[in-house]
Protein backbone atom coordinates (compact mmCIF):
# COMPACT_ATOMS: atom_id res chain seq x y z
CA UNK A 1 0.00 0.00 0.00
CA UNK A 2 1.32 3.42 -0.99
CA UNK A 3 1.90 5.80 1.95
CA UNK A 4 1.72 9.29 0.59
CA UNK A 5 -0.54 8.74 -2.41
CA UNK A 6 -2.93 11.68 -2.74
CA UNK A 7 -6.38 10.34 -2.12
CA UNK A 8 -9.56 11.74 -3.57
CA UNK A 9 -12.53 11.98 -1.17
CA UNK A 10 -14.17 9.00 -2.87
CA UNK A 11 -10.99 6.94 -2.55
CA UNK A 12 -10.73 7.82 1.15
CA UNK A 13 -14.30 6.73 1.77
CA UNK A 14 -13.78 3.51 -0.20
CA UNK A 15 -10.61 2.76 1.76
CA UNK A 16 -12.36 3.32 5.12
CA UNK A 17 -15.25 1.05 4.11
CA UNK A 18 -12.87 -1.62 2.85
CA UNK A 19 -10.74 -1.66 6.03
CA UNK A 20 -13.81 -1.67 8.30
CA UNK A 21 -15.11 -4.65 6.34
CA UNK A 22 -11.76 -6.41 6.71
CA UNK A 23 -11.77 -5.82 10.49
CA UNK A 24 -15.34 -7.04 10.81
CA UNK A 25 -14.80 -10.12 8.68
CA UNK A 26 -11.73 -11.29 10.59
CA UNK A 27 -12.11 -14.52 12.56
CA UNK A 28 -9.87 -15.83 15.27
CA UNK A 29 -12.27 -18.54 16.42
CA UNK A 30 -10.85 -21.92 15.43
CA UNK A 31 -14.16 -23.75 15.94
CA UNK A 32 -12.57 -26.45 18.12
CA UNK A 33 -14.42 -25.36 21.29
CA UNK A 34 -17.94 -25.58 19.80
CA UNK A 35 -17.00 -28.89 18.08
CA UNK A 36 -15.76 -30.33 21.40
CA UNK A 37 -18.86 -29.33 23.41
CA UNK A 38 -21.27 -30.21 20.62
CA UNK A 39 -19.77 -33.72 20.52
CA UNK A 40 -19.54 -34.21 24.30
CA UNK A 41 -23.09 -33.09 25.11
CA UNK A 42 -24.61 -34.92 22.11
CA UNK A 43 -22.83 -38.19 23.01
CA UNK A 44 -23.75 -37.95 26.71
CA UNK A 45 -27.39 -37.18 25.86
CA UNK A 46 -27.72 -40.02 23.33
CA UNK A 47 -26.08 -42.54 25.71
CA UNK A 48 -28.46 -41.46 28.51
CA UNK A 49 -31.39 -41.92 26.10
CA UNK A 50 -30.14 -45.44 25.19
CA UNK A 51 -29.66 -46.33 28.89
CA UNK A 52 -33.24 -45.34 29.69
CA UNK A 53 -34.82 -46.74 26.55
CA UNK A 54 -33.07 -50.14 26.61
CA UNK A 55 -32.92 -50.40 30.44
CA UNK A 56 -29.17 -50.81 30.92
CA UNK A 57 -26.53 -48.95 32.92
CA UNK A 58 -23.08 -47.87 31.81
CA UNK A 59 -20.30 -48.81 34.27
CA UNK A 60 -19.79 -45.06 34.88
CA UNK A 61 -21.89 -41.89 34.67
CA UNK A 62 -21.57 -40.79 31.02
CA UNK A 63 -21.94 -37.13 32.05
CA UNK A 64 -18.48 -37.35 33.63
CA UNK A 65 -17.12 -36.76 30.11
CA UNK A 66 -18.37 -33.18 30.52
CA UNK A 67 -15.95 -32.78 33.45
CA UNK A 68 -13.08 -34.29 31.44
CA UNK A 69 -13.82 -31.93 28.53
CA UNK A 70 -13.07 -28.90 30.74
CA UNK A 71 -9.30 -29.57 30.65
CA UNK A 72 -8.94 -29.45 26.82
CA UNK A 73 -11.34 -26.48 26.75
CA UNK A 74 -9.11 -24.48 29.11
CA UNK A 75 -6.05 -25.34 26.96
CA UNK A 76 -7.94 -24.40 23.76
CA UNK A 77 -9.07 -21.06 25.25
CA UNK A 78 -5.56 -20.13 26.42
CA UNK A 79 -4.05 -21.04 23.02
CA UNK A 80 -6.73 -19.14 21.08
CA UNK A 81 -6.14 -16.05 23.24
CA UNK A 82 -2.38 -16.31 22.75
CA UNK A 83 -2.65 -16.77 19.01
CA UNK A 84 -5.30 -14.08 18.46
CA UNK A 85 -3.76 -11.25 16.45
CA UNK A 86 -6.52 -8.82 17.34
CA UNK A 87 -9.22 -8.32 19.91
CA UNK A 88 -12.74 -7.14 19.19
CA UNK A 89 -14.78 -4.93 21.53
CA UNK A 90 -17.33 -7.63 22.32
CA UNK A 91 -14.83 -10.47 22.98
CA UNK A 92 -14.75 -9.95 26.77
CA UNK A 93 -18.54 -9.79 26.96
CA UNK A 94 -18.96 -13.04 24.98
CA UNK A 95 -16.33 -14.77 27.17
CA UNK A 96 -18.21 -13.65 30.31
CA UNK A 97 -21.52 -14.97 28.96
CA UNK A 98 -19.98 -18.43 28.36
CA UNK A 99 -18.27 -18.44 31.75
CA UNK A 100 -21.57 -17.62 33.49
CA UNK A 101 -23.26 -20.33 31.40
CA UNK A 102 -20.65 -22.91 32.49
CA UNK A 103 -21.05 -22.00 36.16
CA UNK A 104 -24.85 -22.07 35.87
CA UNK A 105 -24.87 -25.50 34.17
CA UNK A 106 -22.77 -26.96 37.00
CA UNK A 107 -25.05 -25.23 39.54
CA UNK A 108 -28.03 -26.88 37.81
CA UNK A 109 -26.30 -30.27 38.07
CA UNK A 110 -25.71 -29.63 41.77
CA UNK A 111 -29.38 -28.66 42.23
CA UNK A 112 -30.56 -31.77 40.37
CA UNK A 113 -28.41 -34.10 42.47
CA UNK A 114 -29.02 -32.44 45.84
CA UNK A 115 -32.66 -31.37 45.96
CA UNK A 116 -34.37 -34.84 45.81
CA UNK A 117 -32.44 -36.23 48.83
CA UNK A 118 -32.74 -32.93 50.73
CA UNK A 119 -36.50 -32.84 50.02
CA UNK A 120 -36.91 -36.47 51.23
CA UNK A 121 -35.19 -35.47 54.49
CA UNK A 122 -37.49 -32.47 54.97
CA UNK A 123 -40.56 -34.63 54.28
CA UNK A 124 -39.33 -37.25 56.75
CA UNK A 125 -38.73 -34.53 59.39
CA UNK A 126 -42.33 -33.39 58.87
CA UNK A 127 -43.46 -37.00 59.25
CA UNK A 128 -44.63 -37.81 55.71
CA UNK A 129 -43.26 -39.38 52.53
CA UNK A 130 -44.05 -39.60 48.84
CA UNK A 131 -45.71 -42.84 47.74
CA UNK A 132 -45.82 -44.29 44.21
CA UNK A 133 -49.41 -45.46 43.70
CA UNK A 134 -50.44 -47.44 40.61
CA UNK A 135 -53.99 -46.44 39.69
CA UNK A 136 -54.73 -49.82 38.08
CA UNK A 137 -53.58 -51.65 41.23
CA UNK A 138 -51.10 -53.74 39.23
CA UNK A 139 -48.32 -53.13 41.75
CA UNK A 140 -48.32 -52.41 45.47
CA UNK A 141 -47.69 -48.84 46.69
CA UNK A 142 -44.06 -48.08 47.47
CA UNK A 143 -42.05 -45.09 48.74
CA UNK A 144 -40.90 -42.69 46.03
CA UNK A 145 -37.81 -40.48 46.18
CA UNK A 146 -38.75 -36.89 45.26
CA UNK A 147 -37.68 -35.90 41.75
CA UNK A 148 -37.79 -32.87 39.51
CA UNK A 149 -39.90 -33.85 36.50
CA UNK A 150 -38.58 -33.26 32.96
CA UNK A 151 -35.54 -31.49 34.38
CA UNK A 152 -33.48 -31.88 31.20
CA UNK A 153 -35.81 -29.31 29.58
CA UNK A 154 -34.13 -26.66 31.77
CA UNK A 155 -30.72 -27.73 30.43
CA UNK A 156 -32.02 -27.42 26.85
CA UNK A 157 -33.30 -23.92 27.68
CA UNK A 158 -29.88 -23.02 29.08
CA UNK A 159 -28.09 -24.34 25.94
CA UNK A 160 -29.97 -21.80 23.81
CA UNK A 161 -29.14 -18.74 25.93
CA UNK A 162 -25.37 -18.14 25.43
CA UNK A 163 -25.64 -19.48 21.88
CA UNK A 164 -28.25 -16.87 20.95
CA UNK A 165 -26.24 -14.06 22.62
CA UNK A 166 -23.12 -15.11 20.66
CA UNK A 167 -25.04 -15.55 17.41
CA UNK A 168 -26.72 -12.15 17.63
CA UNK A 169 -23.65 -10.25 18.87
CA UNK A 170 -21.24 -11.76 16.35
CA UNK A 171 -23.89 -11.78 13.62
CA UNK A 172 -23.12 -15.47 13.16
CA UNK A 173 -26.40 -16.83 11.79
CA UNK A 174 -25.68 -20.59 12.29
CA UNK A 175 -25.61 -20.04 16.08
CA UNK A 176 -28.65 -17.75 16.00
CA UNK A 177 -30.58 -20.31 13.95
CA UNK A 178 -29.38 -23.17 16.21
CA UNK A 179 -30.49 -21.28 19.34
CA UNK A 180 -33.94 -20.53 17.89
CA UNK A 181 -34.35 -24.22 16.97
CA UNK A 182 -33.29 -25.11 20.52
CA UNK A 183 -36.06 -22.94 22.01
CA UNK A 184 -38.39 -25.05 19.87
CA UNK A 185 -36.79 -28.25 21.26
CA UNK A 186 -37.35 -26.85 24.78
CA UNK A 187 -41.08 -26.42 24.14
CA UNK A 188 -41.36 -29.94 22.66
CA UNK A 189 -39.39 -31.38 25.62
CA UNK A 190 -42.02 -30.05 28.03
CA UNK A 191 -44.57 -32.43 26.47
CA UNK A 192 -42.59 -35.62 25.76
CA UNK A 193 -41.32 -38.29 28.23
CA UNK A 194 -37.92 -37.64 29.87
CA UNK A 195 -35.98 -40.12 27.73
CA UNK A 196 -36.93 -38.19 24.58
CA UNK A 197 -35.76 -34.97 26.25
CA UNK A 198 -32.31 -36.54 26.01
CA UNK A 199 -32.63 -36.89 22.23
CA UNK A 200 -33.83 -33.27 22.01
CA UNK A 201 -30.82 -32.25 24.12
CA UNK A 202 -28.51 -34.09 21.71
CA UNK A 203 -30.18 -32.32 18.77
CA UNK A 204 -29.73 -28.98 20.61
CA UNK A 205 -26.00 -29.68 21.12
CA UNK A 206 -25.65 -30.45 17.41
CA UNK A 207 -27.46 -27.34 16.13
CA UNK A 208 -26.09 -24.93 18.78
CA UNK A 209 -22.45 -25.99 18.78
CA UNK A 210 -21.45 -28.92 16.56
CA UNK A 211 -22.74 -27.58 13.22
CA UNK A 212 -21.64 -23.95 13.89
CA UNK A 213 -18.31 -25.46 15.02
CA UNK A 214 -17.88 -27.21 11.66
CA UNK A 215 -18.70 -23.95 9.83
CA UNK A 216 -16.23 -21.96 11.98
CA UNK A 217 -13.53 -24.61 11.52
CA UNK A 218 -14.02 -24.65 7.74
CA UNK A 219 -13.79 -20.83 7.60
CA UNK A 220 -10.74 -20.81 9.87
CA UNK A 221 -8.89 -23.43 7.80
CA UNK A 222 -9.78 -21.64 4.54
CA UNK A 223 -8.41 -18.34 5.93
CA UNK A 224 -5.25 -20.06 7.14
CA UNK A 225 -4.72 -21.55 3.69
CA UNK A 226 -4.98 -18.05 2.15
CA UNK A 227 -2.31 -16.73 4.51
CA UNK A 228 0.26 -19.50 4.01
Amino acid sequence: MNTEKNLTEQESLRLITDMLRKAKGSYHETGIGPLLWGTVVAVASVVTFLERHYQFKMPFDIWLIVLFAIVPQVIISIREKQNAKFKQYDDDMIDSVWLVFGISIFALGFFQNTVPAASAKHFAAEGWTLIRHYTDGSQPDRPQTPMVLSFYSIYILFYALPTLVTGLTKKFWPMTFGAILTYGFFIVSCYVPLEYDMLLGAAAALVCWFIPGIILRTKYLALRKQHV
Binding site: M1, T3, L7, L15, M19, L20, K22, F86
Partner: protein
Protein backbone atom coordinates in the same frame (compact mmCIF):
# COMPACT_ATOMS: atom_id res chain seq x y z
CA UNK B 1 -16.54 26.61 3.42
CA UNK B 2 -14.97 23.16 3.42
CA UNK B 3 -12.95 22.00 6.40
CA UNK B 4 -9.40 21.02 5.61
CA UNK B 5 -8.86 17.29 5.79
CA UNK B 6 -6.48 16.18 8.58
CA UNK B 7 -3.15 15.71 6.71
CA UNK B 8 -2.12 12.95 9.14
CA UNK B 9 -5.17 10.88 8.21
CA UNK B 10 -5.34 11.93 4.55
CA UNK B 11 -2.67 9.43 3.56
CA UNK B 12 -3.48 6.00 2.17
CA UNK B 13 -1.64 3.77 4.64
CA UNK B 14 -2.26 5.86 7.77
CA UNK B 15 -5.97 6.07 6.95
CA UNK B 16 -6.05 2.31 6.35
CA UNK B 17 -4.42 1.67 9.75
CA UNK B 18 -6.84 4.00 11.55
CA UNK B 19 -9.88 2.52 9.76
CA UNK B 20 -8.76 -0.96 10.77
CA UNK B 21 -8.07 -0.01 14.38
CA UNK B 22 -11.40 1.77 14.81
CA UNK B 23 -13.15 -1.55 14.13
CA UNK B 24 -11.24 -3.58 16.75
CA UNK B 25 -10.22 -3.12 20.38
CA UNK B 26 -6.54 -3.75 19.64
CA UNK B 27 -4.50 -5.42 16.91
CA UNK B 28 -1.03 -6.83 16.46
CA UNK B 29 1.38 -5.22 13.99
CA UNK B 30 1.38 -8.44 11.92
CA UNK B 31 -2.43 -8.33 11.62
CA UNK B 32 -2.34 -4.70 10.41
CA UNK B 33 0.46 -5.54 7.96
CA UNK B 34 -1.53 -8.47 6.58
CA UNK B 35 -4.74 -6.46 6.14
CA UNK B 36 -3.08 -3.39 4.61
CA UNK B 37 -0.64 -5.31 2.39
CA UNK B 38 2.06 -2.85 3.45
CA UNK B 39 5.76 -3.60 3.92
CA UNK B 40 6.96 -3.88 7.52
CA UNK B 41 9.31 -0.91 7.16
CA UNK B 42 6.73 1.41 5.63
CA UNK B 43 4.06 0.39 8.13
CA UNK B 44 6.45 0.86 11.01
CA UNK B 45 7.15 4.47 9.98
CA UNK B 46 3.45 5.30 9.59
CA UNK B 47 2.53 3.67 12.89
CA UNK B 48 5.22 5.79 14.54
CA UNK B 49 3.73 8.97 12.98
CA UNK B 50 0.24 8.06 14.26
CA UNK B 51 1.69 7.36 17.68
CA UNK B 52 3.57 10.71 17.74
CA UNK B 53 0.26 12.50 17.01
CA UNK B 54 -1.37 10.64 19.91
CA UNK B 55 -3.85 8.90 17.60
CA UNK B 56 -2.77 5.38 18.60
CA UNK B 57 -1.07 3.64 21.52
CA UNK B 58 1.73 1.22 20.68
CA UNK B 59 2.77 -1.45 23.18
CA UNK B 60 5.94 -3.43 22.51
CA UNK B 61 6.52 -6.63 24.44
CA UNK B 62 7.90 -10.14 24.06
CA UNK B 63 5.70 -13.20 23.48
CA UNK B 64 7.35 -16.64 23.36
CA UNK B 65 10.75 -14.94 22.91
CA UNK B 66 9.51 -12.99 19.86
CA UNK B 67 8.86 -9.23 19.83
CA UNK B 68 5.17 -8.38 19.67
CA UNK B 69 3.81 -4.93 18.84
CA UNK B 70 0.19 -4.19 19.66
CA UNK B 71 -1.64 -1.07 18.44
CA UNK B 72 -4.77 0.48 19.89
CA UNK B 73 -6.66 3.61 18.86
CA UNK B 74 -6.79 6.38 21.50
CA UNK B 75 -9.77 8.66 22.33
CA UNK B 76 -7.91 11.46 20.47
CA UNK B 77 -7.57 9.10 17.50
CA UNK B 78 -11.29 8.31 17.54
CA UNK B 79 -12.14 12.04 17.67
CA UNK B 80 -9.75 12.80 14.79
CA UNK B 81 -11.16 9.92 12.73
CA UNK B 82 -14.74 11.07 13.32
CA UNK B 83 -13.81 14.65 12.37
CA UNK B 84 -12.09 13.35 9.22
CA UNK B 85 -15.17 11.33 8.19
CA UNK B 86 -17.45 14.35 8.83
CA UNK B 87 -15.18 16.56 6.71
CA UNK B 88 -15.21 13.92 3.96
CA UNK B 89 -19.01 13.83 4.04
CA UNK B 90 -19.10 17.62 3.62
CA UNK B 91 -16.94 17.30 0.50
CA UNK B 92 -19.08 14.54 -0.94
CA UNK B 93 -22.46 16.16 -0.33
CA UNK B 94 -23.91 17.59 -3.57
Amino acid sequence: MFKELDPILHSQLRLAVMSLLIGVKEAEFTFIKEKTNATAGNLSVQVQKLRDCGYIDVVKQFKDNYPQTTCKITPAGIAAFEAYVKALQAYLQP
